[in-house]
Amino acid sequence: MKKNLINFIVTLIIAIILSQYLPWWHVMVAGFVSALFFSLDRAAVFFIPFLAVFLFWTVYALWLSNANDFILAEKIAVLLPLGGNWAVLLLVTGCIGGIAAGVSAILGKQCRMLVKR
């Protein structure tokens, strides 16, 4: 459990720091790097970074959008189309970031195993 928590926190911190410098794929780098150094087992390899980035992106997006009464989020939720519901758009945003992080974490884990052997 402790390993999970460490990986979660590390992924989150790396993602937050890199988001200042890198485009959207900062979450892929974060997932990859944390898996290299704080390896997890089985499904956790994917889901812990997924959750970390899901949390980061949804909270960040919520913070931005809340300050502006969700005007644009509601419109984008019409465009995509998600029925004009900004909350669904937030979830989709979190999932997209999460999947990207989780998949690259699996790659990180594989690379670590290669190095370890």
Partner: protein, 806 residues
């Protein structure tokens, strides 16, 4: 197994990366687009208005005050700084639109939208849009002052673009996954060309040539008369033209026996309802003794709006009004001395010439019994994710051979060349710069003098008490009949011989009647010595406006507002009583009779809560179509007769052979058509009602303001409660109408009122994106804050200082 896992996860990771980083069809790149640190969430912002900004090249500080409507009031120390700031602020609030419109103007949409826009781009190149803009730019560059201002504007736009990071790009860039490019002075020329196309790009010479071949001269003249039997022209009929003393060009003998046109499809035409109203009353007719002026240009209703309102001040001049993103200065507005506004002055300024090439190489064409050299212009059309297309367009002395074997034609040895005033080029930016600084009638006239296109009815009022209206543009002085139909490109007598001298352009200053007005109607009556014929002139709004001003002695601001929002349907009032008297109602069912009674009791005002305007609209649409079914049945390119003449035919030639419906064996008259289309209307509206509820005019018309990207529903506004239709003074049709309403009373300083269907911000995430729309639909106006002193910041919500970069 584990040797497979690594490559497998690597591939998976790459798939996820490219999948989320790339655009698929109209789906934006989802990773990029949704990431909160660079995607659309970054556009979820209110305006940043207060900080100090550094701008390259400013010579002094520029102060920008924003009022509650997000209208910037710009105070600069000199013109160069002023126009640099205008560029900067326009980019700040409207960057995507600013750039997109010039891409549309120059036929570059395929670069952004891909292959789907290729046909559009080719057409714009073949229309000579870039060629015309280049010629205009040359003229602007001849004037060092204009050049220095358009360069300053360019630098202002670029200062803004350069400080952007991808996360700051307007949301449309993120949606379409591209980035802004540097602004150039060509783009100002392209934007002006775009307006020229929109307003002086509509013609139907080839269609008329076909119609003449189809109907013969006598019938053709009945359907398409040079003048209608009513005419209340822009410049009043009483005008004495005896001061015009030039020799008119002689009509050459009709030796041509031109075949009808071999192409079946012509270039897209601008919206037929692009037009406007303007008027001014003199002090004598004004409640306060000060002249009052009004202007409302009717254009497509889009978001971001075509207009951006600003106040532009230096110590020397101070003007306020609507600007066009991409052009400098105020286009429709006022300063402390004068006010001005435009409506479109339609004239036939495009002619088509049949070109005969010597051989398939198209290197030479026949003119004046010689073979003359053509030139080639290679248009490079970039296409997103495809190879660039190079389109070779042949040019003759007339202009581009738009239609040839490679475009809508099939004959390698023939083509049709376009001659257009828009291609000649002119420094039309200067006119607006001068109007901004104008102090009196002479300055106004001086500003207008060299203006070429798109020809406009420039209305004017001054605090000195003058009112005026000049129909200004560069007009070819044509022989009678020249250019109404296809011309012979080999006959020098068919060339444009000369232009109408500017001082002979029709105009009116301080007329006896105490008002001037224009609403895209006939500029003059037949007594004007130069050749002018009906080129699609509006016939209803102008009569309502002129009757309004003839009806009483004094007018106040409320009268002006009422007139701009007037929904009286003169067109319906000129046909319906005739129908009610002549239509046989004996076969109507009870429901149909109900509907007929509803429209019979109509007062002809197209108000939103009425049913009758919907009945009328549905009925008229069907009637117009069925009268001219002969046109639809013909495979040749044809234009149908104008509305006014259609009603004239229905009433005065009820037995005409064209009243017959081709697809039936009976011989119909106009009375039959009324009944047939009425029954169809009743059926349609009954079905509509079953599906949507009451067909009151507001719901049935369903006016909307659509985002520039094919009216993306998410960024558009629908079902706006506004009355009127395309022939009422309040010309609000489904997606077209008053794009800026302005009223100015020439007090000291002038008092302005204005509104437009949009908002100052181009960001769909801003509350200022569409905040004027509801008030516009209601007919409300903003009291325009015309600041006289930059220290007096009473109604200012934020101020920003633009400082020179250290």
């Amino acid at each position: 197994m584990k040797y497979f896992k690594l490559p497998l996860t690597l591939v998976l990771t790459l798939v996820v990366f490219f999948g989320l980083n790339s655009k698929f069809g109209s789906t934006p790149p989802m990773g990029k687009f949704l990431s909160p640190n660079e995607g659309f969430w970054q556009n979820e912002l209110d305006e940043n208005l207060s900080s100090t900004m550094h701008i390259d090249g400013l010579t002094n500080e520029v102060t920008v005050h924003y009022d509650e409507h997000l209208i910037p009031h710009v105070f600069a120390q000199n013109n160069t700084d002023l126009y640099r700031a205008q560029g900067y602020l326009t980019a700040k609030h409207r960057l995507w639109q600013l750039e997109f419109q010039t891409f549309a103007a120059g036929g570059r949409l395929a670069e952004i939208l891909g292959e789907q826009a290729l046909d559009y781009d080719r057409q714009e190149r073949r229309r000579g849009m870039v060629f015309g803009a280049e010629n205009a730019l040359e003229k602007m560059q001849e004037d060092p002052e204009t050049l220095s201002y358009i360069e300053a504007y360019r630098d202002g736009v670029n200062s803004y673009i350069n400080q952007l990071e991808p996360k700051d790009y307007p949301v449309e860039y993120k949606l379409l996954d591209y980035a802004p490019e540097p602004w150039t002075i060509d783009k100002t020329a392209l934007l002006l060309m775009y307006m020229t196309k929109m307003l002086a790009g509509r013609e139907a010479d080839l269609e008329h040539t076909n119609a003449l071949a189809k109907f013969g001269k006598e019938r053709y003249d009945l359907l398409f008369p040079d003048f209608f039997d009513v005419n209340d022209p822009v410049i009043s009929k009483e005008t004495d033209w005896s001061f015009i003393n030039v020799k008119m060009p002689e009509t050459p003998e009709q030796d041509r026996s031109l075949d009808s046109i071999s192409i079946t499809e012509t270039l897209d035409k601008p919206h037929p309802q692009n037009g406007s109203n303007n008027w001014a009353v003199s002090g004598r007719k004004s409640y306060s003794g000060h002249p009052i002026l009004a202007n409302d240009p009717h254009l497509g209703l889009n978001l971001p709006s075509i207009w951006f309102v600003m106040q532009l001040a230096t110590p020397e001049h101070n003007s306020y009004g609507a600007t066009l993103p991409g052009a400098l200065g105020i286009i429709s507005g006022y300063n402390n001395h004068i006010s001005w506004g435009e409506t479109n002055a339609t004239r036939d300024v495009i002619d088509w010439y049949k070109i005969e090439f010597k051989d398939d190489t198209r290197k030479e064409y026949k003119h004046d019994d010689q073979w003359k050299k053509t030139t080639q212009r290679i248009e490079e059309i970039k296409i997103r994710n495809r190879e660039t297309l190079y389109d070779t367009i042949i040019y003759t002395h007339h202009g581009p051979v738009s239609y040839d074997h490679s475009f809508k034609g099939d004959n390698a040895k023939a083509g049709y060349a376009m001659q257009w005033v828009g291609h000649i080029g002119g420094n039309n930016q200067r006119t607006f710069l001068k109007l901004n600084e104008g102090k009196n009638y002479d300055d106004y006239l001086d500003a207008l003098k060299n203006y070429t296109a798109p020809a406009q009815n420039f209305v004017f009022a001054s605090i000195q008490g003058d009112i005026a209206l000049w129909i200004q543009g560069q007009f070819p002085n044509k022989w009678k009949g020249q250019g109404k139909f296809l011309l012979d490109g080999s006959n020098p007598k068919h060339d444009w011989q000369s232009f109408i001298p500017q001082k002979f352009n029709a105009h009116s200053k301080n007329p006896e009647r105490g008002f001037v007005s224009s609403a895209n109607q006939h500029p003059v009556d037949p007594s004007y010595p130069f050749y002018v014929y009906n080129d699609g002139y509006e016939t209803y709004r102008n009569r309502v406006i002129n009757d309004f001003f003839r009806a009483k002695d004094k007018f106040n601001i409320q009268d002006f507002k009422n007139l701009q929002n007037n929904n009286y349907n003169l067109k319906a009032s000129e046909l319906l009583p005739y129908i009610f008297t002549n239509m046989d109602t004996s076969t109507l069912t009870a429901e149909e009779t109900d509907i007929l009674n509803t429209i019979k009791s109509w007062d002809f005002y197209s108000e939103i809560d009425q049913l009758a305007p919907s009945i009328w609209e549905s009925w008229w649409t069907k009637l117009y179509k069925i009268v001219w079914d002969e046109f639809d049945a013909d495979s040749r390119a044809l234009e149908k007769p104008f509305t006014y003449q259609t009603i004239y035919m229905l009433k005065n030639h009820p037995q005409d052979e064209l009243m017959d419906i081709l697809s039936t064996s009976e011989k119909e008259t106009s009375n039959d058509l009324f009944l047939i289309t009425f029954k169809e209307t009743a059926k349609e509206l009954t079905e509509w009602k079953a599906e949507h509820g009451d067909y009151n005019w507001g719901a049935y018309k369903a006016t909307y303001v659509g985002h520039l990207l094919q009216a993306l529903p998410a960024f558009s506004r629908f079902d706006l409660p506004i009355g009127g239709d395309y022939n009422t003074v309040n010309a609000a049709s489904k997606n077209h109408g008053p794009s800026w309403r302005m009223i100015v009373e020439m007090t000291t300083p002038p008092t302005g009122y204005g509104i437009y269907p949009g908002g100052q911000s181009g960001n769909p995430g801003s509350k200022y994106y569409d905040n004027f729309i509801d008030r516009w639909a209601k007919g409300d106006y903003m009291n325009l804050l015309f600041m006289q002193d930059q220290e007096d910041t009473k109604d200012i919500i934020a101020s920003q200082i633009l400082t020179p970069k250290q």
